[in-house]
């Protein structure tokens, strides 16, 4: 059985939430042997992270260089390619960093690469049977991955559920590396702009997606939001089309919201979008396509054209008035 490594992202001395998910996924590949954590960074924060991980991993590989103080994918790739043994299986979260790091790393390691894995169904000596999703989650696929010369698997955040496990009493193994000046250099991080309203402050969000069809139709969502005392938010295609400001976008590359009610109107329900909805709100899906993935996560579903349904709902609400409730 190939040795399983988990790439641990961390910030300010704390491992990312994904660390526990990778551990759960590693147990599906090898239920007998604990995986090895591999961490890159520099200084005191890295020391603290590595010591903490010893509770869950049999070994913690601490790859250290001053240049790794910011996780530059080019440098991390070089460091990992120099340290990981041939034939290893490496698990990485499929987020903005994993997408940056892993495809190229798989080439440098001469390993197979499977992105955005949502389930590990079966683990054999030379192959893994995995589940992925395509077409924005509309359909799933079984994928067979040849691991005879190793593999890099990017795992969808939230897809693997962490479970409790016995203390591991692992030990830290240090790998100092020397790295040349990278050809891609980190400059700064520009925080998201505040925007006209703060969608994270509302109890009701009327959220629109591609199904809104054109900018003028946004008025229908605005009217309903006003009638419900909420605000209008949206999914990525609406921002890409420049119909709404980036500050209105819900999702992993937008805002994380915690409303009481989330009306998903004409939103298919990609995992990147759903990642921005927290706090277990009532999710209502209004979509013309009865097979839209959003109906799998919504508690209430309405199969209809939102351009028809939104104005009727706003009208009924106005007619009843606040007193009716």
């Amino acid at each position: 059985m190939s040795r399983v490594f988990c790439f641990i992202q961390h910030a300010e001395g704390k491992p990312d939430d994904s660390a526990a998910e990778l551990l759960a996924a590693a147990a599906k590949i090898n239920p007998v042997e604990l995986p090895t954590a591999v961490v890159t960074g520099w200084g005191k924060d890295l020391d603290i992270v590595c010591e903490g991980l010893c509770a869950c991993y049999r070994e913690v590989w601490k790859i250290t260089a001053e240049a790794l103080v910011y996780p530059n994918a080019e440098l991390v790739r070089k460091a990992l390619a120099g340290v990981l043994p041939h034939g290893s299986i490496l698990l990485v979260p499929h987020n903005h960093f994993g997408i940056d790091l892993s495809p190229g790393l798989s080439i440098k390691l001469d390993a197979a690469y499977v992105p955005d894995v949502v389930e590990i169904e079966r683990s054999e000596e030379m192959a893994l049977r995995l589940v992925r999703q395509e077409f924005g989650g509309q359909i799933s696929a079984h994928v067979l991955c040849d691991i005879s010369s190793g593999a890099v698997l990017n795992l969808r955040p939230g897809a693997f559920h962490p479970h409790a496990q016995a203390a591991a009493m692992g030990r830290v193994r240090e790998w100092p590396v020397s790295l040349e000046r990278p050809r891609r250099r980190y400059l700064s991080t520009v925080p998201a702009e505040a925007g006209d309203i703060d969608i994270t402050k509302y109890k009701v969000l009327v959220s629109v997606g591609r199904g809104i069809q054109e900018k003028d139709n946004l008025a229908l969502a605005e009217d309903l939001a006003e009638a419900l005392g909420g605000a209008v938010s949206c999914s990525r295609p609406v921002v890409d089309a420049k119909w709404l400001d980036k500050s209105r976008q819900v999702g992993s590359s937008g805002k994380t919201v915690r409303p009481k009610v989330y009306l998903a109107c004409g939103i298919s329900g990609s995992f990147q979008h759903l990642a921005g909805i927290k706090g277990n709100p009532l999710i209502v899906a209004i979509n013309k396509n009865p097979k839209a993935p959003i109906f799998r996560v919504a508690q209430i579903g309405i199969v209809d054209d939102l351009l028809e349904m939104l104005p009727v709902t706003a009208h009924v609400r106005q007619k009843r008035g606040v007193a009716a409730h």
Partner: protein, 263 residues
């Protein structure tokens, strides 16, 4: 600046409902409408905006079958200067690494300062650009949502990271960038534009034209193979509201109020 954009055709999810075929081993492909993968249009637009500013050329390449010459042609209607099709029966069944290997062979026989891909295809893999960069030993950046040419040898780029923040980087040329949607507004291609490029021949190159070792591409070389498609079980699923629209609206408002959603 000479720019290569890698583009391809995918089933258009705005035009089709994606369903399983009767045998359950593939999606139903009869009557599917294919379009250029949406993020690839953003990549072509980004390339055009650079060459319009500082000069140079935009070449659009696609790996596919003989009938896929409409991909570079459509992007030429947008304004790309050259189109090329990489097609060979032995390319069929290639995984992401195989596609990157084919593209690498084409890049090696030409000269490009910058290579762009769309962020991902319909399979959400987001892999070919990063693999191609590693094979060429070029620097790479994914999820790029701004590009500024700093001087001849460098770009200043923004990457979309969590929470809508932007990670600014400086990157040396030649490099590979995967372009995030929303970086620009891809120009509209009308019927007139399509007609103007309809008769332009698109050169097609096969494995021998590319000097490609066929053992590295196609189904036999693939380490990652899709076995089948399936529809995941719905779980509990949503409670569906049915009836006339005002009735549905009434039910919906009661449920929402019950959740404490209304003030």
């Amino acid at each position: 600046m000479d720019i290569l954009v890698c583009a391809r055709k995918v089933p258009d999810t705005a035009e089709n409902e994606i369903e399983l075929n009767r045998a359950g081993n593939d999606i139903e492909r009869d009557d599917l409408v294919y379009s250029v993968n949406e993020p690839d249009n953003y990549a072509v637009e980004a390339a055009l905006q650079i060459t319009e500013k500082i000069g140079g050329s935009v070449t659009v390449v696609t790996v596919g079958g003989e009938e896929d010459d409409d991909v570079p042609r459509r992007e030429m209607a947008m304004g790309a200067h050259h189109g090329v099709l990489l097609a060979d029966e032995c390319f069929q069944g290639s995984d992401g690494r195989g596609i990157a290997t084919i593209l690498k062979a084409y890049v090696r026989r030409n000269h490009f300062d910058l290579i762009l891909t769309g962020v991902q295809g319909e399979d959400g893999a987001a892999q070919v650009g990063g693999m191609l960069a590693a094979m060429l030993d070029y620097p790479f950046a994914s999820l790029v949502n701004s590009i500024e040419v700093v001087d001849g040898g460098k770009l200043r780029i923004g990457r979309e990271i969590e929470g809508g923040s932007r990670e600014m980087n400086e990157i040396d040329l030649p490099c590979v960038l995967s372009i995030q949607t929303g970086i620009n507004e891809p120009r509209y291609v009308g019927m007139r534009g399509i007609r103007q490029v309809a008769s332009i021949p698109i050169p097609a190159l096969d494995a021998s034209d590319l000097g490609l070792d066929t053992a590295l591409v196609g189904a036999a070389a693939a380490r990652v193979v899709r076995i089948d498609y399936f529809v995941p079980p719905a779980g509990d699923g949503a409670r569906m509201l049915t009836g006339r629209r005002p009735e549905i609206a009434g039910q919906l408002l009661e449920i929402v109020a019950g959740k404490g959603g209304l003030n």
